[in-house]
């Protein structure tokens, strides 16, 4: 049963990602991408990594794709279609893709994957304890570094968003004297 679901999900991911690249309508590409990311979350649920699956749904499907769709809604009108590319560009891109695929398959065949019988169950307590453990096997330092990075990004975004107002406010004062 799990095998069937695995193959269905794989087929969905492969076909939707192809459609997402090949579609000439921007918003449709975004929607196909939404499908791909949701199906990947399905994989995580299939192997029992519920936490990762839910994070995938919140961050990628619910967050990033919504942002992409939002920005597309702000930019284009509904009739907009990407122009059909020249055949030369199609040929070059196709050749590159095939070369990349061949290289990828070669690499995969060369490396040895070890088969894992029962994947580690990751309930929330394990995730939390590992993430916030300062001792051995814990990831407290990377966690804090990432949170500082996020804070910096947030402050930066606010500063950039506010800059126009502060310039507008200060410019008449500078001109006044």
């Amino acid at each position: 049963m799990e095998k069937i679901i695995f193959y269905i999900l794989s087929a969905v991911i492969l076909s939707l990602s192809l459609m997402s690249v090949l579609s000439r309508k921007l918003l449709r590409s975004a929607v196909y991408l939404f499908g791909v990311l949701t199906a990947i979350a399905g994989f995580y649920f299939l192997i029992g990594y519920h936490f990762l699956g839910a994070v995938q749904l919140t961050v990628y499907a619910g967050g990033i794709v919504v942002l992409i769709i939002f920005s597309i809604l702000l930019t284009h009108d509904i009739d907009h279609q990407m122009p059909t590319p020249d055949w030369s560009r199609v040929a070059v891109a196709g050749a590159l893709c095939v070369a990349g695929a061949v290289m990828f398959v070669q690499l995969l065949q060369g490396s040895l994957f070890s088969r894992v019988e029962a994947p580690e169950q990751s309930d929330l307590n394990t995730v939390g304890n590992t993430l916030l453990n300062p001792g051995g096997g814990g990831y407290l330092l990377p966690f804090e570094v990432v949170s500082i990075l996020l804070l910096a990004v947030m402050i930066g975004a606010i500063v950039i968003a506010k800059q126009r107002h502060s310039v507008d406010d200060s410019s008449p004062e500078k001109q006044a004297p």
Binding site: F51, A54, V55, G62, V65, V66
Partner: protein, 358 residues
């Protein structure tokens, strides 16, 4: 006394005894899907009826309280009207996305109710990260709304969708933070365990002030997240005709409609589970006799009683308060609810650290 675990297990055992494991699992899934689809339809039907009645009482609308016995014919009329309407398709719409949008919204709404614990053992998907999963999946519905607004190729629909996007993305934060406050108190995200922690008192009673604040913050934010009045800006009739579903008619419109009502049920069910003790009966201190009488009422009845009380509260809000403006709406979230939520979260963390909680 009323435990559904054995009943559910015996159905499972019967299926596994009769068929091979693969077929039995497939049958179980089909059974669960059918039950939830039926629940989805029935919830929609009942909530439409209740909404019409409550609205009629509040606003002195005479019709819905008079047709048929206690206004029951109103639901029949509404359903018939939806079924018989012509499904109009827009010529210059993006057909694929136009037809996909109601599907995405329905899927998100249907997935979330699978986590709701109706009684002990009566829950389809008791996952370790229950609350996180609910927040994750309910954030997918906005994609459907945005697509519906865009693909209709209609200015009103697009404005409605943009408003809805801004509103849902903002209010999701408050919903998540207020639930996080409660997670601090319960110490778990699993819905069945959250209910078990309330065996000696509901969180709204034993969670001190933070739980009460979190309850009202959750209720406000989630009403806004599911686009219900007084936060129904995305479909404000007086300015946007019908917002993001202006171009939808007949059954496709009914899908949006149903999803809104089922979302309302889900919000009420989560509020019940996290704050009001889920299917736990109401106990009053040491009154053994009173408690025994309360225990006699089946838990599933308790659950639906509490849920209907919360739903009534939400309808009360909708039909009493005037609709907000979009700037007021965003100001409410970012300047009042969010800071209040963060302060409440820190306050609760201190409380839990000192060990003063339930």
């Amino acid at each position: 006394m009323y435990d559904f675990t054995t009943l559910v297990q015996s159905i499972g055992n019967f299926l596994h005894g009769q068929f091979s494991p693969g077929v039995a699992t497939a049958l179980e899934w089909t059974l669960v899907i059918l039950v939830y689809l039926a629940l989805y339809a029935i919830l929609g039907l009942v909530l439409v009826y209740v909404e019409r009645r409550v609205c009629a009482f509040f606003q002195l609308r005479l019709g819905p309280n008079r047709v048929g016995w206690a206004g029951t014919a109103q639901t029949v009329a509404d359903a018939l009207k939806l079924l018989l309407k012509e499904p109009v398709t827009v010529n210059k719409a993006d057909k694929l996305l136009y037809n996909l949008a109601p599907f995405i919204i329905t899927l998100a709404a249907l997935t979330v109710i699978s986590l709701v614990p109706f009684a002990k053992g009566l829950q389809a998907f008791d996952i370790n990260i229950g609350l996180l999963f609910i927040v994750a999946v309910s954030s997918l519905g906005v994609v459907g709304i945005l697509l519906a607004g865009w693909s209709s190729n209609n200015k009103y629909a697009l404005i409605g969708a943009m408003r809805s996007g801004a509103q849902i993305v903002s209010y999701e934060l408050s919903v998540g933070l207020s639930l996080l406050t409660m997670v601090l108190l319960t110490g778990t995200l699993q819905l069945s365990t959250i209910i078990e922690t309330q065996a000696n008192g509901w969180w709204i009673f034993k969670g001190h002030v933070p739980a009460i604040i979190a309850f009202f913050l959750y209720l406000t934010a989630s009403i806004a997240e599911i686009n219900r009045g007084p936060f129904d800006l995305p479909e404000a009739e007086s300015e946007l005709t019908a917002g993001f579903h202006t171009e939808y008619s007949g059954l496709k419109f009914a899908f949006f409609f149903l999803a809104e009502f089922v979302n309302m049920f889900t919000v009420a069910a989560i509020a019940t589970t996290v704050f009001l003790g889920g299917w736990m009966p109401f106990h009053l201190g040491d009154w053994a006799g009173f408690n025994a009488v309360m225990d006699f009422v089946p838990p599933i009845l308790w659950f639906f009683l509490k849920v209907s009380a919360v739903i009534f509260l939400m309808m009360w809000f909708k039909w009493t308060f005037p609709r907000l403006r979009i700037d007021q709406l965003l100001k409410l979230e970012w300047k009042y609810l969010m800071p209040l939520n963060l302060m409440n979260l820190v306050f609760t963390a201190i409380l839990v650290y000192l060990g003063w909680h339930g």
